[in-house]
């Protein structure tokens, strides 16, 4: 076995171990460890990705001395490695972009705890990405949930604690359903490993035995993950959680945590149930409908919002709707579009959160639109970044948002029954997006004659500005050279089968 194949294992264990290590370090050292770990994992994932692209085959890695159905396994393919790399990039940028807010919002003595949470979150995301075992996935979903909850309430104002409680309640409902579905699946197949379950599911479908439990199990697992990733009717916790937590948390939560669950769902669809079996259940129609509803209602709530960060949070609801709509189409193209949208949305949404914090900082900390007037002149970098993010959200060509919408539309055109609905909703939602994002952009670029607030120059926020530049670059790269990414996603999905 090639040494590079150890990388998934190393990345998970490294981030897990760094969490433990941070618990005895001072805040400063913990911060450094955190950054180094994220960078190292990102670097390793990049190497792994290159290696996998060159070999063109996925591989299985034993977690222990025992082969397939007896021991735990992790599995790495192009898609997994790419996701890991992307998660690391976003996480690093989010941490860097929000670092200057941390001292003001979190008690000094709890900083190292924050970094523990981030490290563990990273490790759980990596494990979710790489795992080949359902029960391992469940355990790491729990780590993910708890550390996300910690990220929400690390800034201890009333709102965040309330949001954390709501988040936990919804998440636990989701975990419960997921675990129950998993148990039924275990009962039917007798396996916990994804590849073995898939074989057995194939047999079950072929025999026509246990049809109802199978469908119920699939439905339970899907519902659980949908609840956890804040699909439309289950999004009540989201605006407060994203709107009031410290900014790095908001960026990470919106762009990574929910995406981790969605990626797990993709794995379940492809590697556990099988794409064709999944499509034959009615589940995809349900996902489709809720996705469409999310797209509309999320945008409508965002339009009504008078608080910029909550507005961005509501926009997340709409964007998650897009992803589920892609699932609901039930085609390979729809899936590719959804996965691309995961990337594009993660890049854009964290950019928006980080840019928004720059704008609110120069408006006396207020998030109301009235106070934000002209803030783009006071903090030029944040203004430009916010505009770029908005353009991407609205779907202007050259930004990543356009490509994902293009892919969705292309996928929709191929699906007979759902074409019209998805295209129309896509159009409406895009226009609604344009309404609230362009409104904000105009607002922040409306010059005020006299402001009580001080501006900020480049010199005082070097790290912040550089982060923003990287984010914009990421967006533009995704928007301009999307073909390699799309190819990679296609290749990764092919490896899934």
């Amino acid at each position: 076995m090639n040494f590079i194949c150890n990388i998934p294992f190393f990345s998970i264990l490294l981030s897990l171990f760094s969490g433990t290590v941070c618990s005895v370090l001072s805040a400063k050292a913990a911060k450094i460890v955190n950054r180094v770990v994220i960078l190292a994992v990102g670097l390793m994932s990049a190497i792994l990705l290159l290696y996998l692209l060159s070999t063109g085959e996925s591989f299985i890695y034993w977690m222990g001395h025992f082969p397939a159905p007896w021991g735990n396994e992790i599995r790495a393919g192009v898609l997994e490695a790419g996701m890991a790399l992307f998660f690391c990039i976003i996480m690093y940028l989010s941490m860097a972009g929000g670092a200057h807010k941390l001292p003001g919002e979190v008690v000094e003595s709890k900083h190292n705890l924050y970094y523990i949470l981030v490290n563990l979150l990273l490790s759980s995301l990596l494990a979710l990405v790489y795992t080949n075992d359902m029960f391992t996935a469940y355990v790491f979903v729990e780590i993910n949930t708890i550390s996300a909850c910690g990220l929400i309430m690390i800034r201890q104002v009333g709102r965040t604690i309330e949001a954390a409680v709501r988040y936990m309640i919804m998440s636990l409902l989701g975990s419960g359903l997921l675990l129950f579905g998993l148990c039924i699946m275990y009962d039917l197949t007798g396996h916990l490993l994804m590849s073995n379950i898939k074989e057995s599911v194939g047999l079950i479908v072929a025999n026509g035995e246990y049809q109802i439990p199978l469908i119920v199990s699939v439905a339970l697992m899907c519902t659980g993950l949908c609840i956890k990733s804040a699909l439309f009717p289950f999004h009540a916790w989201l605006p407060d959680a994203y709107g009031y937590s410290t900014v790095s948390s908001a960026a990470i939560l919106s762009s990574l945590v929910s995406k981790g669950y969605i990626f797990l769902l993709i794995k379940i669809i492809y590697r556990v149930i099988g794409f064709s079996v999944f499509n034959s259940t009615r589940m995809i129609d349900v996902l489709f409908v809720f996705g469409l509803m999310g797209m509309i209602f999320g945008s409508l709530s965002a339009i009504k919002e008078n608080d910029v960060r909550r507005m961005i949070a509501f926009s997340s609801v709409a964007q998650i709707g897009y992803i589920y709509m892609g699932f609901g189409m039930g085609t390979q193209a729809g899936m590719v579009a959804s996965i691309f949208h995961i990337l594009s949305h993660a890049a854009t949404k964290s950019l928006l959160f980080i840019a928004a914090i720059g704008l609110t900082d120069v408006s006396g900390g207020s998030r109301r639109f009235a106070d934000l007037t002209g803030s783009a002149y006071r903090n030029k970098w944040a203004g430009v970044a916010f505009t770029a993010g908005s353009l991407s959200m609205v779907g202007v060509p050259l930004f990543s948002g356009f490509i994902s919408k293009l892919l969705f539309a292309q996928a929709a055109v191929q699906v007979e029954g759902k074409m019209l609905a998805s295209l129309i909703v896509l159009g409406i939602s895009t226009v609604l997006n344009a309404v609230y994002f362009m409104k904000t952009v105009i607002r922040i670029y409306t010059a005020t004659t006299e402001t009580p607030y001080e501006g900020i120059t480049f010199r005082h926020m070097k790290a912040y500005a550089v982060t923003l530049v990287f984010f914009i670059l990421l967006n533009v790269i995704l928007g301009v050279s999307s073909q390699p990414v799309v190819d990679m996603i296609g290749q990764g999905l092919a490896m899934f089968a």
Binding site: F9, L16, N72, I146, S200, P213, V216, T449
Partner: protein, 319 residues
């Protein structure tokens, strides 16, 4: 014959609205999209206060469920639908259960080659008499590694939520003790007898984890419970002599690090098909079954400390 309409009357007609739309005078945004003209900033505290009061009044009106019949009705409706939904869920699950393979039989899919190998070869491959312990700490050790980190991250969140700084801590302790007698004699006497027994029992469970029922987690929980009892009987002063936040931190750190590193070694050797140097020992002996015993000890330490930490955090926000 045309009748001259007044301006007001005319404004209500369809033709007026049509022509207004035709000539592009109708603005669909006014009143719909928030966009107000630029005003100079004038700090106006009175207005702000007044606004706040009005806001409060409105909120009172909206959320006073006692008088707001519609909201009340909505709540009722919500609850009814939720109950119905749950009944539906029960029915669905029962139907599902009725289609599942029959319970207690050997022929179900669950009893396949996986469990067969655990039972048949478990003893020789892991060295653990307790097959469950062998399974969770060797075959499926990655899950268990995750599990102990769940506990760890939960402690971290509890620390974030409840840990107080020095001065707050003292106040918290005072208020915590308000309702209970200090140094309850009965409790103390009972505790003197009970605590060592409990703790020894816990240690037994941990050390016996690979030989019989039990293991790190349950043993750790028992020890933790013993510590909690001790704390209740003798107060924080006594326990702080041997157990402080620092102790907790380092015990946790070393146990988890050991766990992580040991498992990493075993994963690494396993995946790369290297020979592991850890001896299996004779099955049934206390020093046997490779890494399972040390891992059980590590887990036990972590759990005991964590449970004590939970309790102390809940009681006074630190220890």
């Amino acid at each position: 014959m045309s009748r001259k309409k007044t301006a007001e009357e005319y404004e209500k007609t369809f033709a007026f609205r049509f022509f207004r739309w035709l000539s592009g005078e109708k603005d669909p945004y006014i009143g719909n999209v928030e966009m107000q003209p630029q005003k100079k900033y004038e700090p106006d505290h009175e207005a702000a206060l007044r606004r706040e009061k009005e806001h409060d009044a409105i909120m009172d009106k909206v959320y006073d469920t006692g008088h707001n019949r519609w909201l009340h009705l909505f709540h009722r409706l919500y609850q009814t639908t939720s109950v119905l939904f749950c009944l539906f869920l029960i029915a669905l699950l029962l139907v599902t259960v009725s289609y599942l393979p029959a319970n207690g039989t050997v022929t179900r899919p669950v009893n396949n080659e996986v469990s067969a190998r655990y039972i048949e070869k478990g003893l020789e491959e892991t060295g653990a008499v307790n097959i469950v312990a062998g399974m969770i700490l060797d075959y499926r050790a990655f899950d268990t590694l995750g599990e102990s980190h769940v506990l760890f991250v939960a402690t971290i969140t509890v620390l974030i939520l409840l840990r107080l700084n020095k001065t707050e801590k003292d106040e918290a302790e005072v208020s915590d003790r308000r309702f209970e007698p200090k140094n309850d004699a009965i409790l103390q006497v009972v505790a003197t007898f009970l605590v060592p027994v409990i703790i020894i029992f816990g240690i037994y469970i941990i050390l016996n984890g690979h030989l019989g029922p039990g293991g790190g987690f349950s043993g750790g929980a028992v020890i933790g419970a013993g510590l909690v009892l001790y704390l209740n009987a003798f107060g924080f002063k006594k326990t702080e002599r041997f157990f402080t936040e620092k102790t907790y931190k380092w015990v946790c750190f070393f146990s988890l690090s050991f766990y992580c590193l040991a498992k990493s070694y075993s994963f690494y050797t396993g995946a790369n098909h290297l020979h592991s140097v850890i001896p299996k020992g004779t099955p049934g002996a206390i020093l046997s079954s490779g890494l399972i015993l040390p891992l059980n000890i590590a887990v036990g330490l972590v759990v005991a400390c964590t449970i004590y930490a939970f309790y102390a955090m809940f009681r006074k926000g630190g220890f």
